[in-house]
């Protein structure tokens, strides 16, 4: 019991100094629980009712990511713990000097670790349970889900996972701690406080040269990725990453010498107030912790990139969803008319729908998919090797197409009698279409020649489709289709309709009914010419929405989870480092007081010191992120995503909250410690 009370007393004593350590542990536990529990939350069932597989997918993904997160958190906690233990070596030395055996000291430490672990695990779990409710409500807001009649859910599975992961981490810490006591001699423990100040790399020339080299290398890589990110083939990706990592480490290793040299020469700056002191403190700090600063910078970079990309994808999905579902149902009937097909399957179209369009489309032997590309067909063929270029292209009458446009709330097309337009929302094919249109590719319909009415393909859809892109169609003036010489035959029809009965629940029921009746038509059939075709393809508004929201939810959760954990890990390590340095600085600030530095001067010096520690890794990571995002933008272009603005705004907000919070807490803590 005496051991226990001593351990308890130690923890109480340390509470002030180590509050950041405690806080980080608790937040770590809470986040771990929150994300593991999210799959069980009621909200997820509500968001993705038909997309239950999405919830399953999210759960298993979070499970996998959690292993990684536990690893990162474990490293963070071990680092922080070692840091704190190092500061207390003298205390252990004194215990031993007073005759306490090594075993007993170890037992005190084990006792302490257990207490710290249990307290933070308990508090963290409680915080996590409430936090996950909060997260649910946030998610509802994000995806506009009804929150009435919400249940308070506690996930036993998540609690178990959290406890197991953190028990393992604390067990490892216990081993580390007892090792510290066991392997050190008394003299080392007692004198641990008298650490030697390492001095800046003596060879100034070397550090200046290294600094310049690493700056140049990094600048090259950053510019390459930043300015030519959209030309993927130009970038040797892995070499860039390698140069980036090595360059970052080199940069920090040489920065101390370089900065001291550069700033030391700026006399009027260096000799003002406490500037020389601040610069020395800072360069000394970079010098002793160059490697961890470099690592922090790189982790921050990963986190920032994750955040920005993830949120951009979400915004894109939501936006795309916003105008992707103007009607309840769209159908595409090949080889027959959609209305006839539905009638065959006993669908009472007039009863079910209060509004619908059934627009015929035609084909002609004169118009093939390859033909519309003209001389650019061969170029496109290199990208799409499996495409059937001699297949007939679907053609719609201008008046029919414009009727659809009106229903979908889009601008109508205008064509002269001898013009045509291409409608296509397949981003990979569109560059070739555009080239062909710009070149004025003409289509010869057995004597009647059409030229492009627009010099770009119309990037709109005919069938609602969510993410997948269907091949588009050609739009020609009505008179052309009616001209018998052009050889048009009716191929099928496009159907777009709204249910007569409105409401979320009823629409799901109607979806069900419709799918059931038309199921037989969704099986592929082999046509006379040997081509496989689907008599009727149907897309439903609800299905598209659920799928899209499901994907969006997965992206947002993974991004938040990984990003937040990484940022917290970085901020916590910096905070601990700065706080412990400030304990070393107590004496220095006392000296400054004695030689007449006033309170304001000292506060300014302290602020500058704390700020540089937080800001420099963040600034460098931000620059990296800028070039990284440009590269990712290039990667995502195939899916039509090009805007990163929303993601960057969201990232900035999150960083301000987490990182800024740690910064302020640390600064206040330092002020308390050095008493300025």
């Amino acid at each position: 019991m005496k051991l226990f009370s001593l351990a308890l007393k130690n923890i109480k004593k340390c509470r002030g100094d180590y509050s950041i350590y405690f806080f980080t542990l608790i937040v770590g536990v809470a986040i771990f629980y929150m994300f593991n529990a999210i799959g069980s939350q009621e909200v997820m069932q509500r968001i993705a009712r038909s997309g239950n597989e999405n919830v399953q997918r999210l759960r298993s993904l979070i499970g996998v990511v959690s292993v990684m997160v536990a690893f990162v958190l474990g490293l963070l906690i071990i680092y922080a713990n070692n840091f704190l233990i190092k500061r207390r070596k003298k205390e252990f030395g004194i215990y031993m000097l007073l005759g306490m055996g090594k075993k007993k000291v170890s037992r005190i430490l084990i006792c302490e670790t257990c207490l710290v672990g249990l307290i933070s695990l308990g508090v963290g779990l409680i915080a996590g349970i409430f936090g996950s409710q909060f997260l649910s409500i946030l998610v509802c807001r994000m995806f506009e889900v009804d929150v009435t009649g919400f249940m308070f859910v506690i996930s036993g599975r998540a609690i178990l996972m959290t406890i197991i992961s953190f028990l393992v981490i604390f067990l490892v810490i216990m081993l580390f701690n007892t090792g510290t006591v066991a392997k050190n001699n008394l003299i080392d423990l007692i004198r641990a406080e008298k650490k030697n100040e390492k001095h800046i790399l003596k060879n100034k020339t070397l550090s200046v040269v290294l600094f310049v080299i690493s700056c140049a290398a990094l600048a090259t890589v950053l510019c390459l990725m930043g300015f030519f990110g959209n030309r993927l083939e130009m970038i040797p990706f892995f070499s860039c990453i390698a140069v980036g990592i090595v360059g970052t480490f080199l940069l920090f290793w040489s920065a101390a010498g370089f900065l001291q040299e550069a700033l030391g020469r700026a006399g009027s700056f260096y000799r003002k107030d406490l500037n020389s002191f601040v610069v020395r403190q800072f360069t000394g700090n970079i010098n002793t912790s160059a490697s961890s600063l470099a690592l922090i910078t790189l982790i921050l970079f990963v986190a920032l990139t994750f955040f920005s990309t993830g949120f951009s994808i979400r915004t894109y999905l939501n936006k795309r969803l916003g105008n992707a579902t103007p009607v309840d149902v769209t159908m595409f009937a090949e080889g027959a008319d959609a209305l006839d097909l539905m009638a065959q399957q006993n669908v009472e179209v007039d009863e079910m729908f209060d509004f619908y369009l059934n627009l015929p489309f035609y084909t002609s032997k004169y118009i093939t998919i390859g033909g519309t590309l003209g001389e650019f067909k061969d170029k496109a063929a290199q990208t799409f090797r499996a495409a059937r270029w001699d297949a007939r292209e679907n053609v719609m009458k201008l008046s029919d197409y414009n009727a659809l446009e009106r229903k979908y709330g889009r601008d109508e097309l205008k064509l002269d009698d001898d013009q045509y337009a291409i409608v296509c929302d397949f981003d990979l094919l569109n560059p070739f279409n555009e080239e062909a249109l710009k070149a004025g590719t003409k289509i010869d319909l057995g004597g009647r020649v059409l030229s492009p009415g627009y010099d770009k393909p119309i990037e709109e859809y005919i069938m609602m489709s969510g993410m997948t892109a269907y091949l588009g169609c050609l739009v020609v003036p009505d008179a052309v289709v009616e001209d018998a010489d052009c050889g048009f035959i009716k191929e099928g029809s496009v159907f777009a309709g709204d249910y007569r009965e409105k409401g979320r629940e009823i629409s799901y029921a109607l979806d069900e009914e419709l799918s059931e009746k038309l199921r037989i038509l969704s099986e592929p059939v082999i046509r006379e010419d040997g081509r496989k075709s689907y008599p009727l393809t149907m897309t439903l508004k609800n299905e598209i929405k659920d799928n899209s929201v499901g994907t969006s939810v997965i992206v947002v959760f993974l991004v938040l989870y990984i990003g937040i954990v990484f940022v917290i890990a970085c901020a916590a390590i910096i905070a601990l480092k700065v706080l412990s340095d400030s304990i070393d600085s107590i004496r220095k600030y006392e000296i400054l007081t004695r030689i007449g530095a006033d309170g304001q001067m000292k506060r300014k010096a302290l602020f500058a010191q704390v700020m540089m520690n937080f800001l420099i890794p963040l600034c460098i990571a931000s620059v990296y992120t800028w070039s990284g995002l440009s590269y990712i933008k290039g990667l995502l272009r195939a899916f039509g995503m090009v805007k990163m603005g929303a993601g960057i705004v969201m990232t900035t907000v999150i960083m301000l909250i987490i990182y800024g919070g740690y910064f302020i807490t640390t600064y206040e803590g330092c002020k308390r410690i050095v008493k300025v």
Partner: protein, 256 residues
């Protein structure tokens, strides 16, 4: 010569109502401009308390400390910082150098704090360093210097701002006898060439013998005061100091 420092009826109590300890008990003395005064006494006699009160690190319970006629107990906040940076210079037993900075930067820092323009700093630092014989050590870090060198850097830092009063708290306490001797020579040189007024607390008779006047304190009161006569050798002065300290250490009637 005018009185630079006056300590008038200084009293300092520690503890609470039920248990008061008087560290300074109605103590009065004065120091003239350009004087080199030593304060001696056994441990617990109140020397450090006195120095702390003069240096504004601590405050008197009663009485006054006047520096150039100004009551320093009335100074507050910024005035106090300004007072410390402009009028006082400190030398401590354990040097109190900033170990992350070179000797030159340590000395220059007190000028920066005082607000001296960058252009003048270099010259002033070099002059002070030359007086104290550390010109060769300026680019070294404290950890690369010997104790004596460090203390001379501290002394240079104390005098480089041309303070009205240099306060030295056991400056030779952490030095060996050779380093002590050369430091005290340096302090005397400062006193003579720069006309620096020095108030030094010590319990080392040898170091004290470099001063011009010694004030002995016992139990918070002035026990006695001896002045170095003109033409008196340092050796003779030293003997007189030793005589007084032996009496100070314990009067015969206290030994039972």
């Amino acid at each position: 010569m005018s009185k630079l420092l006056e300590v008038i009826h200084a009293e300092k109590y520690y503890g609470n109502k039920g248990n008061l300890t008087a560290a300074l008990n109605d103590l009065s003395f004065s120091v003239d401009e350009g004087e080199f005064v030593g304060i001696m006494g056994a441990s617990g006699s109140g020397k450090t308390t006195l120095l702390n009160c003069i240096s504004t690190i601590d405050k008197l319970s009663a009485g006054k400390v006047l520096l150039s006629g100004q009551n320093i107990n009335e100074l507050k906040g910024k005035q106090l910082d300004r007072f410390r940076s402009h009028k006082l210079g400190f030398i401590f037993q354990d040097f109190n150098l900033l170990d992350t900075m070179t000797a030159e930067e340590n000395i220059a820092l007190s000028l920066s704090i005082k607000g001296v323009p960058a252009k003048e700093i270099r010259e002033k630092v070099e002059k002070a360093a030359e007086t104290l014989g550390i010109s060769q050590q300026l680019s070294k870090f404290p950890s690369e210097m010997s104790g004596g060198q460090k203390q001379r850097v501290a002394a240079a830092r104390a005098v480089v701002t041309d303070p009205e009063l240099v306060l030295a708290d056991e400056p030779t306490g952490a030095l060996d006898s050779k380093a002590s001797k050369s430091l005290m020579e340096s302090l005397r040189k400062l006193n003579e060439t720069r006309n620096a007024t020095i108030l030094m607390v010590t319990h080392d008779s040898f170091s004290a013998s470099y001063a011009g006047r010694i004030i002995f304190i016992k139990d918070g009161k002035i026990f006695t005061e001896i002045l170095r006569e003109e033409n008196e050798t340092r050796k003779d002065f030293f003997k007189r100091i030793v005589d007084v300290t032996s009496v100070l250490g314990g009067e015969l009637d206290e030994v039972v």
